[in-house]
């Protein structure tokens, strides 16, 4: 898998999402629960808006000095025996990871959940070497067993599945014979995964935040699987997006607090793991610790009007409140990054060609902008994308003409008023189902236009002015 999870056209994906009643009820139920929990956990802080300001400041400061902090991080990690590799492209990242696996003659890799490794299609690259890759995050593991079903959410990858479907997958793929009780399912997964942790040659994790001052990598999980991945195999690889860095542990503290509350409404998650390369020949420490810092198009975003998109801490708060995501689910976006942040980020990383609809798949309600703990103006970035698509991309000739016509009419009041007057009886005629030209027809397919009473405000006001002998009208 890479950033793209489907080659089907956008509206086909949307239709599939809308038709999936189960998925939609799972998503809306999860959204409502998460929204409530987030509200409670942020209210406890009392000054949520101040926290958001502070978190935004940290992210902006780090991005503005990214070269400095990355260098500081790399030097500190290397000084302690870590191997830091800067990968400009996903191919470079995968080649480096492959080279480690080859050298170690590894046959099995165990992984903790990581979006960036999905983005670069790392699993496929590893499988090319005849090496097995086992996902250890419960949700990711379920998806992997289910013939590599793609994740539909950044934090809860299997959000679109229910326990019955999971039981069925376990039964079909692993001979599971018990009930769909979540505890029993969880116990089975744990037993299965434990064997994998113990027999893996290499452990691969993502990185929630890298700490520049100490050259450390930190991971936030609820299942503790990242601890198993980082404690058992003797060779460790952490893959991080180049923007996932904080200057010191102090900023990490702030951002982790924001992440946990925004993602799942928790004050903290069950496990927050900090890993620093170590030269000491401790029998419990990994023998090798590699950190792969992935650019894959990020540096092109720096210094542009889209830079704030890199502030993202992958909490999914924007996804959790998005009314569009609520009804179409994560797979409709066709990218491993769904929801508002996906609609902003995917075209930046992958271009417009396959993603032209994404910036338009938003009603611009701004719930995402309001929810973002690091204050990315998501709906404004979607508007910027629309502007760039209109100004720099081909197509949309009819719309272009219509908008130019609109601008002409809206700056020539007489014409605009004439248009309004003429529109009334026309609109009336087309208020019936599925009639009217172009957009009107689409509108009237599901809605009825207001009925006209030949009683326009402008006429009423002017008539009233006349009655009052004028004077007030300007």
């Amino acid at each position: 898998m890479s950033i793209r999870i489907s080659n089907k056209p956008f509206f086909e994906r949307v239709e599939k999402g809308i038709d999936d009643e189960f998925m939609r009820s799972a998503v809306s139920g999860a959204q409502d629960r998460l929204e409530g929990r987030k509200a409670e956990s942020t209210a406890e802080l009392g000054t949520w808006e101040d926290w958001r300001d502070h978190a935004e400041e940290i992210r902006q400061h780090t991005l503005e000095n990214l070269d400095f902090y990355l260098q500081q991080f790399a030097e500190n990690a290397a000084a302690q025996g870590g191997h830091v590799f800067f990968a400009e492209t996903k191919e470079e990242a995968n080649e480096y990871i492959q080279s480690v696996i080859r050298r170690k003659e590894a046959k099995k890799v165990v992984k903790a959940k990581s979006m960036v490794t999905e983005e670069i299609g790392m699993n496929e690259a590893i499988r090319e070497l005849d090496c097995e890759v086992i996902e250890s995050d419960l949700g990711e593991w379920i998806l992997q067993l289910d013939d590599h079903d793609p994740p539909s959410h950044i934090v809860v990858p299997a959000l679109h599945k229910n326990k019955e479907q999971i039981r069925e997958t376990f039964h079909e793929k692993r001979g599971y014979g018990k009930s769909s009780d979540p505890q029993e399912l969880g116990r089975f997964a744990r037993e299965q995964l434990r064997k994998e942790f113990l027999s893996a040659d290499v452990g691969i994790t993502g990185c929630n935040f890298a700490v520049a001052e100490s050259g450390s990598v930190s991971l936030v999980t609820n299942e503790g699987n990242a601890r198993m991945v980082t404690a058992l195999p003797k060779t460790q690889i952490s893959v991080m997006g180049m923007e996932r860095i904080v200057p010191t542990w102090e900023e990490l503290d702030v951002l982790v607090s924001m992440l946990c509350r925004s993602a799942v409404g928790q004050k903290l998650t069950s496990y927050i793991t900090g890993l620093t390369p170590s030269k000491a020949q401790d029998e419990h420490a990994p023998e090798e610790f590699h950190i792969v810092i992935v650019d894959n198009g990020r540096s092109k975003i720096l210094g542009t009007k889209y830079q704030s998109a890199l502030q993202c801490i992958r909490c999914a708060a924007c996804i959790n409140v998005c009314p569009v995501y609520r009804h179409v689910g994560g797979h409709s976006y066709g990218s491993i990054y769904p929801g508002p942040i996906g609609a902003v980020l995917t075209p930046l990383l992958e271009g417009y060609e396959n993603n032209k609809e994404l910036p338009f798949a938003s009603s611009l309600c701004a719930a995402c902008t309001d929810a973002c703990p690091v204050k990315i103006p998501l709906h404004e970035l979607l508007l910027e994308h629309r502007r760039d698509i209109v100004e720099h991309e081909k197509g949309g000739f009819t719309e272009k003409m219509a908008m130019q016509g609109f601008a002409y009419a809206a700056t020539h009041p007489k014409m605009f008023q004439f248009g309004g007057k003429a529109a009334s009886p026309i609109v009336d005629r087309f208020s019936e189902k599925e009639s009217g030209p172009g957009p009107v027809k689409l509108w009237t397919q599901i809605r009825t236009l207001p009925s006209q009473k030949d009683d326009r405000f402008r006429d009423w006001f002017e008539e009233r002015e006349r009655r009052n002998n004028g004077g007030k009208n300007s």
């Binding site: 809308i18 569009v324 009603s363 760039d388 700056t411 809605r447 007030k472 300007s474």
Partner: protein
């Protein structure tokens, strides 16, 4: 106070005159002198939200010129007021027009915001007998930051029972061109909104933005639900009759 009315294109051309009329009458009852600059057209939102920057700039310049002399600009639409507040972003390379855009934004208010925040009035003396639920428009609540004013005014209407709409801040699926371009998604959103409105058992759905009301009302009418849709100005202007 001299109020220049920005009536919005939907209220002027698509809807019958009652929303505009109610807006004028409520403001006059509260002591304002109301004028209607004839050259006004549209705030430019359809072009802006579709990514047509240059076209929006043209419309914005026209709106700025039209309302340049106004003391206050009041509009019965949260999203159109928001759009005017967005104008300054259109002119980041043009100091002169940016300044003019800021001047217009500073004196432009949505109707209920103007009544509560500028006139300092929380009870307009209206009387309306009926159970009402209120839809919070996205741009008005989140971008313009007006959450309480319509609620305060509705709570003070004699005879009116206000029932909270479940998930009241969820978008109704209008979003201007979104409702057409992304029709299948918009339909799901408006259907969920209509379902929540039905759950309140209220007889009237009230809002402060004709775009949202046209979307929700159009769906209510098509699906034959027994709910009447009203603009908040119509409620604030009612004097005891059951329906407007």
């Amino acid at each position: 106070m001299n109020v220049s009315l920005f009536i919005t294109c939907l209220a002027d051309a698509v809807y019958p005159s009652s929303v505009g009329r109610s807006t004028v009458e409520v403001l006059e009852r509260l002591g304002c002198s109301v004028s209607f600059p004839r050259n006004q057209t549209c705030c430019g939102q359809p072009a802006f939200n579709s990514g047509y920057h240059k076209e929006t700039q043209k419309v914005a310049r026209h709106m700025i010129d039209t309302f340049e002399e106004a003391e206050w600009v009041v509009t019965p639409s949260g999203s159109c007021a928001t759009m005017i507040h967005e104008y300054k972003k259109l002119f980041s390379d043009d100091e002169k027009w940016q300044k003019k855009a800021e001047d217009l934004a500073a004196k432009t208010y949505e109707l209920t915001q103007f009544i509560v925040d500028v006139l300092g009035v929380e009870n307009v003396g209206a009387e309306f007998h009926g159970s009402v639920t209120y839809h919070s428009s996205c741009h008005m609540t989140r971008l313009l930051g007006v959450k309480e004013a319509p609620r305060i005014l509705l709570e003070n209407v004699a005879g009116l029972t206000l029932t909270e709409l479940p998930l009241k801040e969820h978008c109704c699926g209008f979003g201007g061109t979104f409702s057409v371009k992304m029709m299948p998604i918009s339909q799901q959103m408006v259907d969920e909104k209509v379902q929540h409105i039905e759950e309140t058992k209220a007889s009237y759905l009230v809002g402060s933005d004709l775009g949202c009301l046209m979307n929700i009302g159009g769906r209510i009418e098509r699906t034959g639900k027994p709910v009447e849709v009203l603009h908040i100005a119509e409620i604030l202007n009612s004097r005891g009759e059951d329906a407007v």
